[in-house]
Amino acid sequence: MTPPPGTPPQPARTASNDLRQALTRKSTVRPAEVIFSSLCRLAAWSSLGILCVLVGTVVWKSWGYLDWSFLTSFDSQRPELAGIWAGLLGTTWMIFLTFTTAIPVGVGAAVYLEEYARDTWMVRFIRVNLSNLAGVPSIVYGILGLTVFVRMFDLFAREGLITHLMGKHIEAIVIAGVEIPLPLGTTLASGALTMSLLILPVIIVATQEALRAIPPSLRHASLALGATRWQTVRYQVLPAAVPGIMTSIILSISRVIGETAPLIVVGAVGFARFAPGKIGSLKDLADHPGGLLQAPFGKYTVMPVQIFNWVGQARQEFQGVAAAGILVLLGLLLFLNGIAILIRNRYQKKLRW
């Protein structure tokens, strides 16, 4: 077969020397290659450098302000007396209340979507919806919380719809000795409900993934033994999904502890010299344990909001107080994430497919 016209002729490769030369001609390592791989390495390791500088700055600034009394005192006009106790308590309450609401709803939704729902347009719509919700800025959740929980669409206001319907201006209801303000106002409950909505997409999606990872044979075996769908879920699927649910909790803990903007919008106080429910010590708890039930319905602060408040102060010393607060915040984050990871790993060891 003759090659088509215009083809460059194949060079005669008769001498092996020609080939040897070609093979050993070390393709000159282009400077571009070295520069590029160095840049890549630098970029990746810069994260370590940045983290060190960041933490280093905070530690340096907090010198002299971080001590035991800082942890156990309330805020003060004087920087040397200011403490983060109110914020610590508030954050703890916030974690507890948020997860109490978000986990049942989130896991329930995930269970429905994975175990019960057929692949209708509705279900697909929910899935798309969840990924969109995850991208909504947290401050918009704050505005949502402000309107729905804090102000409750102004239904209970003096000119509100409910006031018209009921004929009188309702400001609160009392259940079991606990006074619940209406509208909910700038209470811990509003904040916790807002945060629940914020982390709900994460919990649902992560739990869904955990459920999907469980092999169908487990469900089939259970159903074949005569269990109902709910029994299968309750006794087989959910226990197996616990590590995955823990993962979703780990992912959300950092957000719940660190989110500031939505809580400011929903009315977390910046300067607080009180504890939620007036329970700031074990003595308080002994004196009036009813405060525990009242706490979600009172004003509050959380650590990042306190820190934000300190940063905005005119007096320079408060920057040091803020740094101390940041260290406490990071410490709590590290501690809680660590525990959650430990729990998840323990559960994962027990399950071997």
Binding site: P4, T7, P8, S16, L19, R20, A22, L23, R25, K26
Partner: protein, 284 residues
């Protein structure tokens, strides 16, 4: 079954002779008269602790088609990949023994593996066009060697597409994405792409196994045309294909080279019983 093969081989040989206009009984190059393009001596290959190739000593003549046959997992692809040092990128892969290209040990410390791979090209089982235009796919290799002149690139791309029997089908859509081509066209594109670096040796790892019969037949014709200028080593699990296309055949089994010889002889009068069993379909 062996008879059917030998009939096939005789037909093909007759066709070749008619085309070449020779009257000689010899079909294809014989091992004695031509230079060995590729050779391995006592090649042992290991993936970590497990051994995949045992003492392979083989000689591949230039400007011929050598087929490597054998059941799945017998090491044919592994062997192929040692010839252009593709196993270098696999973690834990190592080998002992020599691999020679025209007498030069390709494992030598002075050998530039990048240059080696330009002289020993490879086509894979599943066609892997880059998500670029048809032109850019073929021009990829020459660009690596520093060719930037547009006219030169055009010439190289055109030639290679012609050699790969794809030119007529794509000459008017060179800027279209390569992903829009059919499976058979994509594989021919990959062949053109491999030819663009002007290699001496072309390694083909089951190039037609994922294609329909029509495309397979085109690729086989292509191989037959290409052997005029290139040394081709093709791994195939399709014995009929090996019989149709190759001058020499090597039979691998569980990492050992059982037998190698001229294709016609191997398929009609195999020396080893094992070979005969495989060819007649007793296993694999």
């Amino acid at each position: 079954m062996a008879k059917a093969f030998s009939n096939l081989m005789n037909d093909r040989a007759a066709a070749e002779r008619a085309k070449a206009g020779t009257s000689s009984e010899e079909t294809g190059p014989s091992q004695a008269t031509l230079r060995m393009k590729v050779e391995t001596r006592k090649l042992n290959f290991f993936y970590g602790a497990s051994q995949a190739l045992f003492d392979i000593s083989i000689q591949i003549p230039e400007r011929s088609v050598t087929a490597l046959i054998g059941p799945s997992g017998c090491g044919k692809s592994t062997f192929l990949r040692t010839l252009n040092r593709m196993n270098d990128i696999v973690e834990g892969a190592r080998h002992t023994g020599e691999i020679l290209l025209e007498g030069i040990n390709i494992d030598g410390p002075e050998i530039d593996v990048v240059a080696l791979r330009k002289r020993v090209g490879m086509v894979f089982q599943k066609s892997t066009p880059f998500p670029k235009s048809i032109f850019e796919n073929v021009a990829f290799g020459p660009r690596l060697t520093g060719v930037t002149d547009r006219r030169e690139l055009d010439e190289i791309v055109t030639t290679c597409l012609q050699r790969a029997a794809l030119w007529e089908e794509v000459k008017n859509r060179m800027t279209d994405s390569a992903m829009a081509l059919s499976g058979g066209q994509q594989q021919r594109l990959c062949i053109a792409r491999a030819l663009a670096t002007n290699p001496d040796v072309l390694l083909m790892d089951e190039p037609a196994s994922a294609l329909d019969p029509a495309s397979t037949s085109r690729i086989e014709d292509l191989i037959f045309e290409l052997k005029e200028n290139y040394t081709i080593i093709i791994v195939t699990h399709n014995m009929q294909q090996a019989a149709r296309v190759s001058d020499m055949t090597a039979f691998f089994y569980q990492g050992h080279l059982v037998e190698m010889g001229q294709t016609q002889e191997l398929f009609t009068k195999p020396r080893e019983k094992h070979t005969e069993d495989y060819i007649t379909g007793r296993f694999g």
